[in-house]
């Protein structure tokens, strides 16, 4: 557990809202540069797990380690500065700031870049995420695909070592999805570790090397995507189709 190799490590993390156990004794290690996918039915506690990792929620028990350091008591701001970036399931842009400024905030605060370093860093991300042409547009007016790209780009601008993607492909068309997956592959190729919650399975499985299934807040399975998807209990719980 929490071996020296792991960049992020969850140890027996549990969380309840009243009587509802939304996360139950979840443990896993994420290796540097690894891409892990999370699936599970709605209400399985996937987004709660992200909120626990980012510090928006405090676990009732268990520990969260970043590079072997216990960050369980740290605020979202501190964890961001330590290298955890996230995208939100429902895009949360800074509406009245331009696309570029959205990234600039992230680079200056979470990314801890100086006024001199930040512009080039942001420009590079804008180019990689296909947002360069929209750099000076107000973020509030963007259509969905570009909002999703902005979520991704802004998370990247904080210079994370682990990036959490929450249903970033949801609601996109097939073509848009392919474009976004290419960008995520690019981020992965640069050595950033990824944890990705997604319902669009074919997008997910084209990037991740391990898949975790959550159900009722419990980790049902974790392993190679093919093996996990072939497991009968996963087919039953996830699709409701008795195999």
């Amino acid at each position: 557990m929490g071996g020296a190799m792991a960049i992020l490590s969850l140890q027996n993390v549990s969380k309840s809202f009243g009587a509802l156990k939304v996360t139950q004794e979840v443990s896993f290690d994420l290796a540097p540069g690894e891409a892990l996918g999370i699936i599970g039915p709605n209400g399985a506690g996937k987004s709660t797990l992200f909120n626990l990792i980012t510090g928006n929620l405090r676990p009732d028990q268990g520990a969260i380690l970043l590079d072997g350091r216990d960050v369980t008591g740290e605020t979202p701001m501190q964890r961001c500065a330590s290298g955890i970036g996230r995208s939100f399931q429902i895009p949360q842009p800074f509406d009245h700031l331009s696309v570029y400024e959205n990234l600039l905030v992230a680079a200056r605060f979470g990314g801890r870049l100086t006024a001199a370093e930040a512009p080039a860093h942001c420009a590079d991300i804008l180019r990689r995420t296909g947002l360069a042409a929209l750099a000076d547009r107000k973020a509030g007016g963007l259509p969905l695909l570009n909002r999703k790209r902005l979520e991704l780009a802004r998370a990247m601008a904080t210079r994370p070592r682990v990036i959490l993607l929450d249903e970033i492909a949801g609601g996109l068309t097939e073509g848009e999805c392919v474009e976004l997956v290419a960008t995520i592959c690019d981020i992965h190729a640069q050595g950033t570790a990824i944890i990705w919650i997604e319902h669009v399975l074919h997008a997910l499985t084209s990037v991740v090397s391990r898949l975790m299934v959550l159900n009722f807040g419990r980790m049902l399975m974790i392993g190679a995507p093919d093996a996990v998807m072939a497991a009968p209990e996963v087919r039953e719980i996830y699709l409701g189709i008795e195999a």
């Binding site: 605020t75 939100f88 605060f109 979470g110 750099a135 998370a155």
Partner: protein, 341 residues
């Protein structure tokens, strides 16, 4: 177009304003001094409510504290009133620390009530300061303002009586305060902190996720505006010459008017307070003979703005014309030549 226009017209405007004590009447100087001070308060309140989301109705606390600290510096500690100004600003900022500690516990609208209670506590507490006249207040010692640093120089410059020179000096100080505050606000809002503040205003959840600490930024703005408001309070009461708890901690004069000025001009915009103070001054002149009617009109305008033009006059103008001569935005760096195949 706007970008070349603005840097040119502003210095001209300031220069014109600076000449008022030389060519204008004393009454006009005193009038405009009050207008400039209200603008200083408005710029501070706008920063607080419009940019940091801290809707305070207790800023009169810092006006009064600044004024009382200035009086104490002069009367009790024998300092020059100008030095007293600085003391006033510093004391206001120092007292803002416990005030923030208390009021930041209250959320949203109840923050407003909390600041109001604090201001009333300050008023009542300063009423107990017998050395400064207690509940009835006191005056600056005869000659304190006229012997103030710089008065002799001003007199040499523009002639006239000592009292006129005091008016001119306080007027210039107020004008300088306005200019400094405008530039400082602009620089602050374009800085890292300002960018973070605007991010928090748009979406606090996302701001935290990219490493911005909303509480820290808000506390910083609260302290800085307490400093600005405290200095302005000191300056106001050098000119007025007499202090009492009722006058120094007046909700109507130092907060209510200021709120209307900012709302009418455009809350959360830099030029908004300037536009607002012009409208306010115009209305005041127009309705000078009908004191209460004037206040009713002001209240109705405030309500109408919130119902029909929430961004105020300046915000509405920017929205309608697309022109923004004082942009706060950061332009993206020029993109390198596209390399996509």
């Amino acid at each position: 177009m706007g970008k070349t226009f603005t840097p040119l017209i502003l210095p001209l405007l300031v220069l014109g304003m600076a000449l008022v004590p030389v060519i204008g009447s004393r009454a006009l100087v005193q009038d405009l001094f009050m207008v400039l001070c209200l603008l200083v308060l408005a710029l501070n309140w706008n920063m607080l409510a419009g940019f940091a989301g801290l809707v305070s109705v207790g800023q009169q606390a810092f006006v009064g504290i600044g004024a009382y600290a200035m009086f104490a510096s002069v009367i009790l500690w024998g300092m020059d009133p100008l030095a007293g100004l600085l003391v006033g600003g510093l004391v206001a900022m120092a007292l803002a620390v416990p005030v923030a500690f208390f009021t930041f516990r209250l959320n949203g609208a109840y923050f407003a009530i909390g600041t109001w209670v604090v201001a009333d506590i300050a008023r009542l507490a300063f009423s107990q300061w017998k050395a400064l006249g207690g509940g009835t207040g006191t005056s600056l010692p005869k000659g304190a303002a006229q012997e103030m640093l710089g008065v002799a120089t001003v007199r040499g410059l523009i002639g006239g009586s000592k009292a006129a020179a005091v008016d001119a000096l306080t007027y210039w100080l107020a004008l300088a305060l306005v200019v400094v505050l405008l530039l400082a606000s602009w620089a602050f809002l374009r800085s890292r902190m300002g960018l973070g503040l605007q991010a928090v205003r748009d979406n606090a959840l996302a701001a935290r996720a990219v490493g911005v600490d909303p509480l820290r930024l808000k506390a910083l703005v609260f302290l800085l505006t307490a400093f600005g408001t405290g200095i302005c309070g000191g300056l106001l009461f050098i000119q007025i010459g007499r202090i009492s708890p009722g006058a120094a901690f007046s909700l109507l004069d130092w907060t209510a008017f200021v709120i209307f000025i900012v709302v009418i001009g455009g809350i959360g915009t830099l030029p908004g307070p300037v536009i607002g103070v012009l409208v306010f001054y115009g209305l005041e002149r127009l309705l000078a003979d009908y004191g209460t009617v004037y206040l009713i009109v002001l209240g109705l305008i405030g309500i109408a703005i919130m119902l029909f033009a929430r961004r105020g006059l300046w915000g509405g103008f920017v929205q309608r014309t697309g022109l923004d001569p004082l942009p706060l935005s950061h332009a993206a760096p020029a993109a390198p030549a596209p390399t996509r195949s």
